[in-house]
């Protein structure tokens, strides 16, 4: 395997992402103040996923890593989703 060249991420870019993350935090608080019923949790979690995506891609350099790491991360998240999802085969229909 070849060593990927180290990517240096500029301070401006990092700060921009940080600003975006703060904005999204504000957005979650706003969204959950609205009366959305069951969609509230969906909205909040969607924003949380976007936020974590940003952290992983830029702060954690995933955007610049080789594809292997991205695949493995994907496998992990799918596994967790299965653990949660399959439990609901029981919980939903009991």
């Amino acid at each position: 395997m070849t060593e990927a060249p180290h990517h240096i991420i500029s301070y401006t870019k990092l700060t921009a992402v940080w600003g975006l993350l703060l904005l999204l935090t504000g957005a979650t608080i706003l969204v959950t103040r609205l009366d959305l019923g069951p969609y509230k949790i969906l909205g909040a979690l969607t924003i949380a996923c976007v936020k974590s995506g940003l952290v992983i891609a830029v702060f954690m350099h995933m955007k610049y890593e080789e594809r292997l790491l991205r695949i493995l991360l994907f496998v992990t998240l799918v596994t967790l989703a299965i653990f949660i999802g399959f439990t609901f085969f029981d919980v939903l229909y009991r």
Binding site: I9, W18, A48, L69, T79
Partner: protein, 200 residues
């Protein structure tokens, strides 16, 4: 021949990521329980969420995001060979960790003062779902807090290594892995915050 002193940079990072996967799954166990009990007790979870202090949660979110920014900047700084800046940014990160734990302490103390803690008479008298909500709240934030403590200590230890010139612009994988761990702490909080503080 791969000599032991040969640094496998990509290998070290792969190892760190694999470890982070295990951390994600560890917290995942609590998220499974959260999902199941939210499904079972939607109303009690809402009342429970009301009791939590939103400003504290929001401030802590900002503190952690800022710390995450600083540690990411520290990685950039060391890549550019700016040791002093790296150290300052690491110091800032650790300061954020301390602030986070301080706020957490105040928050927990207030809750406990109001008789909300695992196995407390107040929770025992209340509806069952509420006791489950706070049980999960204490376990999730407690386990997360433990990770903040560990992450902060690890970063402090790496700071010493930066200072001594062991971790440098040519060999900074340790700092990068420490930063990855810290970002994970942030990631977990990104989910804990809406699930516990915003479900009113």
């Amino acid at each position: 021949m791969s000599h032991p002193e040969h640094k496998d940079y990509a290998g070290a990072k792969l190892g760190m990521w694999l470890f982070l996967f295990t951390e994600i799954i560890l917290f995942g166990g609590l998220f499974i329980l959260y999902a199941v009990y939210l499904h079972r007790y939607p109303r009690e979870f809402t009342t429970g969420g009301h009791e939590l202090n939103l400003p504290y949660g929001a401030i802590n979110t900002m503190v952690l995001l800022t710390s995450s920014l600083m540690v990411a900047m520290a990685v950039t700084a060391i890549q550019q060979g700016r040791r002093l800046l790296t150290l300052r940014l690491l110091g800032g990160t650790i300061l954020c960790a301390v602030i986070f734990m301080g706020i957490k302490y105040v928050e927990w103390s207030a809750k406990i003062h109001h008789g909300i803690y695992p196995g407390s008479p107040r929770l025992a008298a209340g509806p069952p779902g509420e006791s489950v909500f706070f049980g999960l709240y204490y376990l999730s934030t407690g386990l997360h807090g433990l990770h903040v403590l560990i992450g902060g200590s690890v970063l402090a230890w790496i700071g010493v290594k930066v200072r001594r010139g062991v971790v440098t612009g040519d060999d900074f994988v340790l700092l990068e892995n420490g930063a990855l761990y810290w970002h994970l702490v942030d990631l977990i909080w990104i989910f804990i915050f809406p699930l516990y503080y915003l479900m009113l």
